[in-house]
């Protein structure tokens, strides 16, 4: 026997989410159906709102609801230093240390030939354009310490060095394969302080 069509549709949509298989999708669907109607509507509204109001900041490519984002607009942030990270969550992690006073640039991924991801698929061209316009004196490469993060940092180093600016890489104090957002603040702070010119 098949479930009524609306349930099938819901399960189908939920199972498109990362890490959610058909079984989990079913569980989530039944959970939602068993909750008060208002809760499901709230969830639906939150998804639609976020999708409509959130976009990339045209400068740093972080998620934002205003363009440019609050960090890029802030007068107290140092325009001379740009930190390159893989994901929006890495910005949150670094902000927690309260140590970094510059601005960010979010690549939205890392180089991974196996997955067919090259520089074209990341916000690299945008980074170059931005450096051309803003002429920062330092670019801090803060991609993760995974293989792909390391390779991305090496690639960006090769690309940026000839432009004559200071290019640094945060220290390898991070645990191997460690995402920035899984790393505790102290370790992150040390990685930032120990960054080295490449």
């Amino acid at each position: 026997m098949l479930y009524p069509e609306p349930i099938q549709d819901l399960v189908g949509e939920l199972s498109k989410l990362p890490g959610v298989g058909p079984k989990t999708a079913q569980r989530l669907a039944f959970f939602l159906l068993n909750r008060p109607k208002g809760e499901a509507e709230q969830l639906a509204r939150a998804i639609v709102e976020a999708r409509q109001r959130i976009r990339y900041c045209s400068s740093c490519f972080n998620f934002t609801d205003t363009d440019p984002c609050s960090l890029c607009r802030s007068a107290t942030r140092d325009k001379g230093t740009v930190m390159v990270v893989e994901q929006p969550k890495d910005v949150i992690a670094m902000e927690k240390t309260r140590e970094f006073k510059g601005r960010y640039h979010v690549l939205h991924g890392a180089i991974s030939p196996m997955e067919g991801i090259g520089p074209e698929d990341l916000k690299v061209r945008e980074l170059l354009a931005r450096i051309g316009q803003e002429s920062p004196h330092e670019v801090v490469l803060a991609t993760s310490s995974s293989l792909e993060g390391e390779a991305t940092a090496l690639y960006l180093g090769r690309l940026l060095k000839p432009l004559g600016l200071k290019v640094t890489r945060i220290a390898r104090g991070l645990p191997m394969g460690g995402d920035l957002d899984y790393t505790d603040e102290m370790t992150l702070l040390k990685a930032l302080e120990g960054r080295q010119e490449i």
């Binding site: 030939p113 196996m114 067919g116 090259g118 520089p119 293989l147 390391e150 390779a151 690639y155 191997m176």
Partner: protein, 362 residues
Amino acid sequence: MQLQRVGIRGFRNLREVSLEPSASLTLLVGQNGHGKTNILEAVHVLLQGQSFRTRRDRDYLADPGPPAPVVLTAAGRLGQRDITWSYMYDGQTRRRRQGPIVPVVVFSPDDLELARGAPSARRHLLDHLLSGVDRRYARSLEAFQRAVLQRNRALKEGGLRDLADDFLPAIVREGEYVWSRRYEVFDQLLPSCQTIYHAVAGSEAVSASYVTGGNPTRIESPMRYREALAARRGDEKVRQMTLVGPHRDDIQFTVNGRSIVTAGSQGQQRTLALAIKLATYLWLKAETGTVPLVMLDDVLSELDGIRRAAVLRQVAADEAQTIVTDTEPRDFGVLNPAVFEVAEGELRLWRGNPRPLNSGPF
């Protein structure tokens, strides 16, 4: 750890099994397909946290039937901590393990691949041994292999070729560590492997050399690795893959200058496989300071008297707790095994007399 009692519940076709193995030799006798290997596998999962024949714990769930938890328990001699391992899948994975990891060596008919199969069989043996005792090795190996995959893909894809060398520092760093440990283990295994081979084969002596992947000599520093890669740059462009590295290593075994792997007799290959596995048992024992549990799955029936005796002398007759599977009982003389019968997933004490075998080893 000396196992005194193993409890198995809901593992493959084993609904409820309680095994009290002998301190030396235990024999599991039964027709094919009744659950002997499943018992060995359950013990392996319990002691090592993983199987020797699958990587998916879900394969253990009794099938068909409603999902029920798998529960494995082991109690050892007084003063040693019990081990428990449980697993359940109900849309979500629930896995729990408590207690020490205990070294295990499994002998199986597949071991013959070590002596006649592709180089990967020999590399896997070293990787398996080292990963079991050295966490950093396991991590380095995984990172190395992934870095090679990334680089090879980059070398193959026109648009990404420029990125290939951004994976080189990782390849050199991790690959160099993998080599350093493999060379070390190889040098430690070789003498006992040779001694055992000689003891079984009589007059023949085996030699072996470690063949470094893509280079005529051992590579023992990052600098040498970089030089070796640089020397084959042209080749790599043409063949679009990484040509120097531990992923292409091999071990070459020879008797009288002739390769056992490609030109050895069946007897030579069997003896070599046995000698390699026994050498790994001795190595693990020395390295971990613990006597490994030994399992012989369907191998005794394939060995002749001399080889059978060679194995048992090293393990059960020494100090290793040994579990053997067979389709019929054999006479092990002074080893006086505990004999159990496995039928349709159930275990009971063997009632009859062990039938003496003409070529009984003891």
